[in-house]
């Protein structure tokens, strides 16, 4: 590598319990360079960053940083080595003062006693260096997230960091705050500090980054100057779809039933700050509707809002031709909605519980007479649905945590199918599960729709959406920017709506564009 490369990671391998997360990944960052690192969930970018910062140890490969071969064994070590990380949730001590957060552990001292006057002055000076004028004696939590990030950057400068890693720093900032952050990033660059910038907002990458590394399936699939890479190319390399192929690709999906005419779900102008703004959704019987969008586009939030996990603050939901005002998931479930979240561990399974109990959790009230659970009926349900979904387990008494991801997902699907719902909401139903189970689940969704269910499905995989859905609504920044029916439904159209690519206008994205910008506060 050349002299002016600050960081060279090459041939990095990493496996978790035998499952490879990184396969020969590489990342090169030059001095004073703002470098974009992108990839879908599970592409391996956070694993790569965690190896860089010492949170994980690599299995194979080499890392050279500032001319020396390094292998950090803890985040503390990498920090001492000159790498600072700024997370989306700022990893600082929020109740302490700004000065302390900038200088903790490095306060100026006299005879071992902290010299507060000098500490405050030094913190103020460093912050002023990046044009932030705030009262450094206030607790950090009194300031907005944007300021907290600035403080984290100031700390990086105080510790003489050469490389600052920013993991989705803009995801909870408003436009003005983003602008400020960018100004500081440029300042860092001019001072010779390099920045690795992770974001899913493509516009931002083009505004602030000069170089880019794209990751997919644990490998580095593209690296180079960002100006040489168009947005559409970028998205297609991220998703692994060749732009030309995409345009020509035919539809090879399953045999699909024609959607019925009766609308099950009709949501109008849903509002739930900060991620859901004026979303309209319709799902008919026998119809699979997809929700597409990059991470942070508000697709998960939209689904949760419909399900009343976070009830809407505005708009109207009609369910089976009746206006409903669900306050909790309990209400939505009672009326016939089912929801399987994207985070199986946090929002789905009860890890220590058996397959049997996990499967029937939502159905329990209906298996109960006078407060007593009918075990025989429970057993019948478990057998029927575990069989139908082909759940592989040693016994129904086995704790669900011992099952593979795919089988856990099947149990969770069974939890909802045994409820015989009218509407099934699936957030990333096939994420992180093996190929066989994935195909089974996709086939099942299509079958279920054929039987009269309405399905609302979120997926990061375009292929899954295109092949499985009758209709796809694309969200960007919490707003619907395109609704593609069979006929217009193609990967390239979804891609360009997601990427907001001006050269490939979609039917609705132009119309929404003005509104999008005006609506941003």
């Amino acid at each position: 590598m050349t002299q002016d490369t600050l960081l060279v990671m090459s041939g990095i391998d990493k496996a978790f319990a035998g499952v490879p997360a990184l396969r020969g990944a590489s990342l090169h960052v030059g001095y004073g360079e703002v470098h974009a690192l992108i990839g879908q969930n599970g592409a391996g970018k956070s694993t790569l960053l965690k190896i860089l910062t010492g949170a994980y140890r690599k299995d194979n490969g080499t890392i050279t940083f500032h001319g020396r071969s390094v292998d950090f064994s803890s985040p503390k070590q990498s920090q001492q080595g000159g790498i600072a990380t700024i997370y989306q949730e700022v990893n600082l001590v929020r109740l302490q003062t700004v000065s302390e957060n900038v200088l903790l552990g490095h306060e100026p001292r006299r005879f071992g006693v902290i010299d507060w006057r000098a500490t405050h002055a030094k913190a103020r000076r460093i912050l002023r260096g990046i044009n932030v004028e705030i009262d450094v004696t206030q607790p950090l939590e009194n300031y907005s997230l944007a300021v907290q990030q600035m403080v984290a950057i100031a700390r990086a400068l105080a510790l003489n960091a050469r490389l600052v890693v920013m993991d989705e720093p803009t995801s909870s900032l408003d436009d003005r705050e983003v602008e400020t952050l960018f100004r500081v990033i440029r300042q860092l660059r001019d001072q010779g500090v390099s920045v690795i910038f992770v974001s899913h907002r493509l516009d931002e990458l083009y505004t602030v980054c000069s170089h880019i590394t794209v990751m997919r399936d644990g490998q580095t699939v593209h690296q180079g100057e960002l100006s040489h890479l168009g947005k559409l190319q970028l998205v297609s390399s991220m998703l692994g779809r060749n732009a030309q192929d995409v345009v020509q690709e035919g539809r090879t999906g399953f045999e699909r039933a024609r959607p019925g005419d009766d609308v099950i779900l009709d949501a109008q102008l849903l509002e739930r700050a900060p991620r859901v703004h004026g979303v309209n959704l319709q799902v008919r019987r026998r119809e699979v509707v997809g929700l597409a969008g990059l991470l942070g586009s508000g697709r998960t939030e939209t689904a949760r809002t419909v399900f009343a996990a976070e009830p809407p603050r505005g708009g109207e939901v009609r369910f089976k031709n009746r206006v409903v005002r669900w306050k909790t998931p309990h209400d939505a479930i009672r009326d016939g909605v089912a929801f399987s979240g994207e985070d199986r561990k946090q929002d789905g399974i009860i890890p220590d519980w058996s397959v049997r109990e996990n499967l029937t959790l939502a159905l329990l009230p209906r298996l109960t007479r006078a407060g007593i659970v009918n075990r025989a009926a429970q057993q019948r349900v478990v057998e029927k649905f575990a069989r139908r979904l082909n759940v592989r387990c040693a016994s129904y008494d086995q704790p669900i945590r011992e099952l593979s991801g795919g089988n856990q997902q099947k149990v969770l699907l069974a939890r909802w199918l045994c409820m015989n719902p009218d509407l099934l909401i699936l957030d990333e139903p096939t994420r992180g599960i093996d190929v066989g189970a994935k195909a089974e689940i996709q086939r099942l969704i299509s079958e279920l729709a054929g039987e009269g269910l309405g399905v609302l499905m979120i997926s990061s995989e375009l292929e899954e959406l295109i092949e499985g859905c009758h209709r796809v609504t694309v969200l960007r920044d919490g707003r619907p920017v395109a609704s593609l029916q069979e006929g217009d439904l193609s990967e390239s159209r979804v891609l360009s709506a997601m990427a907001h690519d001006a050269h490939q206008p979609t039917l609705e994205s132009d119309a929404h564009e003005g509104q999008h910008h005006a609506g941003h506060d």
């Binding site: 503390k76 902290i114 044009n131 004028e133 907005s144 300021v147 400020t180």
Partner: protein, 327 residues
């Protein structure tokens, strides 16, 4: 161009009020009592009041440090009882030996707490529950289930009953400990790390602080100060008291919380704790005067009710303000 970011100083009135609420209440109560009761605003009352409450203050200072790290120490009451017995047993060898024995025994229990919490990874609540029982057991074993008289010849009793420079000796001890604690927390990196551990343990580790060492340190300090309180207890009543100290840990926790220290750690100050403990003690002092006036008659039993209600109001206020912050 200096940027004017939205500083969003959500320094809501509630926060301010919570910070100073206890102090305001204290001032109001003192003014009220001074106006209403003859003999309240006297040197004698003040001296008696602080001499007795000094023990709670000592314990509460240690408890504050533990709570700042997000932990809790239930063992302090038992430890005080235990050390009062040990100090009384050692008192024939001289006041200094008695003091040292009591303090060392307390520190040893505290060290044990810290090690169990950091090495065995037992939750602080359970670990200190263990020493809560264990220390009480040792107190009863060592004392043979009865109060152990202190040796009156060696001047040990002065540690509880005497005066120094016109101040009750226990109060002098509190002042010394308070100032030392203030210095530790405010002006040393160790002190700052106590706050950081309770604020965000991961961040503290990332910033290079030895989280486990900090925890061991605060539990040891808490045990040590409970030891000092036990010595004062023995000296004040002229005997080691194996059955005293019941519920002291809760008095201390209540005092710390009323003072405004966050139970989840990371924020609080020794000064607030002093105010909180004084406030709680004052309520009962005032009740005594009120009863003494004979106008009304409030049972001492109301003490606990009032203390509980106080705690309730404070934690509800705390929970509201932290919840708003979290959202």
């Amino acid at each position: 161009m200096a940027l004017s970011l939205p500083t969003s100083t959500r320094l809501a009135p509630a926060t301010l009020l919570r910070g100073q609420g206890a102090l305001v209440a204290l001032v109001v109560l003192v003014a009220f009592a001074a106006f209403r009761y003859e003999g309240f605003f006297t040197l004698y009352n003040a001296s008696t009041f602080f001499r007795y409450n000094a023990m709670f203050m000592l314990i509460a200072i240690g408890m504050t440090m533990v709570i700042l790290t997000g932990g809790i120490d239930l063992s302090v009451g038992s430890v005080a009882a235990m050390t009062s017995v040990i100090a009384a047993l050692a008192s024939p060898h001289g006041a200094g030996v008695g003091l040292l024995a009591g303090v060392a025994a307390g520190a040893a229990i505290g060290l044990l707490n810290g090690l169990v919490i950091t090495r065995l990874r037992v939750e602080p609540f359970i670990a200190t529950l263990g020493t809560f029982l264990g220390a009480r057991g040792i107190a009863q074993l060592a004392s043979g289930q009865a109060a152990v008289s202190v040796d009156s010849s060696g001047g040990f009793a002065r540690l509880g009953q005497g005066d120094w420079l016109g101040l009750p000796v226990p109060v002098v001890l509190v002042i010394v400990v308070f100032l030392a604690g203030l210095f530790l927390l405010r002006s040393t990196r160790t002190g700052r790390s106590i706050y950081c551990v309770g604020d965000n343990e991961d961040a503290a580790r990332l910033m290079g602080f030895g989280v486990d060492q900090v925890k061991v340190l605060v539990y040891t300090i808490s045990g040590l100060l409970a030891g000092v309180a036990g010595v004062v207890l023995a000296a004040q009543f002229g005997a080691g008291q194996p059955v005293e100290g019941v519920g002291w840990e809760l008095t201390a926790i209540a005092g710390v919380v009323v003072g405004g220290t966050l139970l989840t750690g990371g924020r609080g100050s020794l000064f607030d704790t002093m105010v909180g403990v004084t406030l709680l003690g004052l309520i009962f002092n005032i009740l005594n005067f009120e009863n003494g006036k004979g106008v009304i008659s409030i049972d001492v039993f109301w003490q606990n009710v009032i203390r509980g209600v106080f705690l309730l109001v404070v934690v509800i206020l705390q929970s509201n303000s932290t919840r708003r912050k979290g959202e």
